[in-house]
């Protein structure tokens, strides 16, 4: 069992290349096999498979008939796909901007040496421990127009109160945003708070000595210093938005009609029940492209050649 890498040079190997490739440091390579397999088979292999078959006319089963960009042309002509994309864009912008802003503001408020900080953090973060399915179902009940919040406030005397967003074609996407913010803003807050805490107290002292107003210190000094945390949060939140699926299934199931459809749902539906695999694969390739838009700039920033590492 005991493997050595030190005395590798001692044994005169028949083929140094093969020896280095397989025998040397063997246990570590065995330990890393699942990682290598995951990267090669799943992340590279499966992704390439999907991209390749998105150029075929596969229907219920994958076939090899190459049809060029036909699936993509159909995809971009499909009303449901366009509604999905538009929904995701609107949802994504709102969800990203609001969760980052509210998350940061809450973190700033919690950084004011308040009492009950732990209690508040527990409260803000518990929804994140719940699944998106649970989140969707709770908000479905609260926003239920016949027995939920709308009726409650009307019965309490606010006769004109209207909150029928989950059954309203134009508003349903905002209902999704509300539930989503409840689910994940606490997560952003916790990350931002960690970022705020990582800033040296000396910076604050220096800013105070210079008479810089607090809000100005936050905006011009603290925020730029938190760049790393903010970018990482953006990448995590952003790539989660592209995947948006569970919450929609639980809260609206894409309805009313197709008013709250999203790309991930389009893909899964066509993949497993629509009998139109080519469409599903083309859709998922577009999703991949959307993630790369986030990922590549981040990768360039993150892995710019620094010293070492």
């Amino acid at each position: 069992m005991a493997e050595t890498s030190i005395d590798a040079a001692a044994a005169p190997p028949p083929s140094r290349f093969l020896y280095n490739l397989f025998r040397r440091n063997l246990s570590a390579k065995v330990a890393a096999t699942p990682m290598v397999a995951t990267v090669l088979v799943v992340f590279v292999g499966c992704t390439l498979w999907t991209v390749y078959y998105s150029f075929t006319n596969s229907r219920a089963l994958p076939t090899g008939d190459f049809v060029g960009f036909a699936q993509y042309e159909r995809l971009f002509a499909a009303r449901r796909w366009n509604v999905s994309v538009r929904n995701l864009l609107l949802f994504g912008v709102l969800s990203l901007v609001l969760s980052m802003t509210i998350g940061f503001l809450l973190a700033v408020l919690m950084d004011q040496k308040i009492r009950l900080e732990n209690t508040l953090r527990t409260i803000f973060l518990y929804p994140f421990a719940l699944s998106a399915i649970v989140t969707g179902l709770v908000w479905q009940w609260i926003m239920n127009p016949t027995l939920g919040l709308q009726t409650t406030l009307r019965n309490l005397g606010w006769e004109s109160f209207t909150f029928d967003w989950i059954t309203n074609t134009d508003m349903v996407i905002y209902a999704l945003v509300i539930a989503d913010l409840w689910h994940k803003t606490g997560f952003v807050t916790v990350l931002m708070l960690a970022g705020l805490r990582s800033i040296d107290d000396e910076i604050w002292k220096a800013a105070r000595v210079d008479g810089i107003p607090t809000w100005r210190t936050y905006l011009s000094i603290v925020l730029p210093m938190m760049r790393g945390v903010i970018i990482t949060t953006l990448v995590i939140v952003g790539s989660a938005i592209v995947r948006l699926y569970d919450l929609v299934v639980a809260l609206t199931d894409g309805g009313p009609g197709i008013a709250s459809e999203v790309p991930a749902k389009y893909v899964i539906n066509y993949m497993f029940s629509g009998g139109n695999l080519g469409q599903a694969l083309a859709g998922s390739t577009i999703m991949l492209a959307a993630v790369l838009v986030f990922l590549i700039p981040w990768a360039i920033i993150e892995f710019r050649p620094k010293k070492e590492r």
Binding site: M1, A2, N25, S27, A28, A31, A32, M35, T38, V39, V42, F43, G45, C46, T47, T50, L109, Q112, K113, I114, R121, T122, L125, Y126, P127, F128, A129, L130, S131, A132, I133, V134, V138, I142, L147, L149, T151, T152, L156, W182, A194, G195, I236, S239, V242, R243, Y245, D246, V249, A264, V267, M271, A280, G283, S284, T285, M287, L288, F294, L295
Partner: protein, 302 residues
């Protein structure tokens, strides 16, 4: 820090009469935090009270009213006899399916990631860093991109539609974040520890089991918390890979609530929803800081 005049040392323990000017902005501060806390707590309150009401009381149309007559019937029904579309056995089969999925997936993925993280730090080989970077990047690929080929892979292995398939899938997709976690942790340990063991002649596995693993208990706890909550809350993989018989709790819950036949029993729905959330909530409340550390470690260091 906004509210404090320069003279006051951080006002953690207030004593003496309350200074009035400070109070005003403090009140605003606490006011905002209170409103935010209410927004977060309200759904939990509504869930609990709704689940304890009878249907006639729910039809009165006040989701905020506490139950006049507390009944546990909805809870019993949600657990034992609510209909999930095919059968009417409640959520209990889903609960046990989720247990059967979560435990092996967690053990397997955490073990693989621990060994892998250790190899990446202490036994680097040509290409190890490359594959690690690729693993982290791969974790951002939407699952929808890889799901169909994985269906084919599991089908050709003969495990599609079984518990093994879901466990395999969870192990695969848990690997990036867990490996990152363990790699960062092992990298933070003093290298002398490893070198001393090497000098004493211990090999790969021996150093892992006798030195590294016992030292990694804190990060082990973080990883387990991360996986248990993540896998328990999964919906997509369960619905695709598990097969109807093995649907996890989240899938069954969604089927109960969103099934279109029959009278909508909102109290049963809410009881079922709480039941499904109970495991991750328990993990969250018990582990507290470790949970926070888990998500922060995954995000901030990445």
């Amino acid at each position: 820090m906004t509210a404090l005049p320069a003279t006051a040392p951080s006002a953690v323990v207030p004593s003496g009469p309350r200074p009035k000017r400070v109070a005003a902005s403090r009140i605003v501060l606490y006011g905002i935090l209170l409103v935010a806390a209410l927004y977060y707590l309200l759904p939990l309150y509504v869930m609990v009270t709704t689940s304890l009401k009878g249907l006639p009381e729910i039809r009165l149309g006040n989701i905020f009213a506490p139950p006049l007559e507390v009944t546990f019937e909805p809870w019993v029904k949600a657990w034992t006899s609510a209909c999930t579309g095919l059968t009417c056995k409640g959520l209990s089969p889903g609960f046990w399916n989720s247990v059967k999925i979560t435990i092996p997936s967690t053990v397997l993925s955490v073990l693989i990631a621990a060994v892998n993280g250790y190899a990446l730090v202490n036994w680097r080989f040509r290409g190890s860093e490359f594959f690690f970077t690729a693993l982290i990047f791969g974790s951002f690929i939407p699952y929808q991109v890889m799901v169909y080929p994985l269906v084919l892979v599991t089908a050709s292995l003969g495990i599609f539609g079984t518990l093994q398939a879901v466990i395999l899938i969870h192990t695969i997709f848990g690997m990036p974040i867990l490996t990152l976690l363990f790699r960062n942790y092992f990298a933070s340990l003093p290298p002398e520890l490893f070198k001393a063991a090497r000098v004493d002649g211990a090999g790969f596995w021996r150093i892992f089991f006798q030195i590294m693993l016992p030292m990694s208990l804190p990060i082990l706890a973080v990883a387990i918390i991360l996986q248990v909550t993540g896998i328990w809350n999964d919906f997509l993989f369960g619905v695709i890979f598990a097969g109807t018989q093995n649907y996890p709790m989240t899938v069954q819950l969604n089927n109960i609530v969103n099934s279109t036949q029959g009278v909508r029993e909102y109290n049963v729905n809410m009881a079922a929803t709480i039941l499904t959330g109970l495991v991750p909530l328990a993990v969250y409340f018990v582990s507290g800081r470790l949970f926070v550390r888990g998500i922060a470690a995954g995000a901030v260091k990445g």
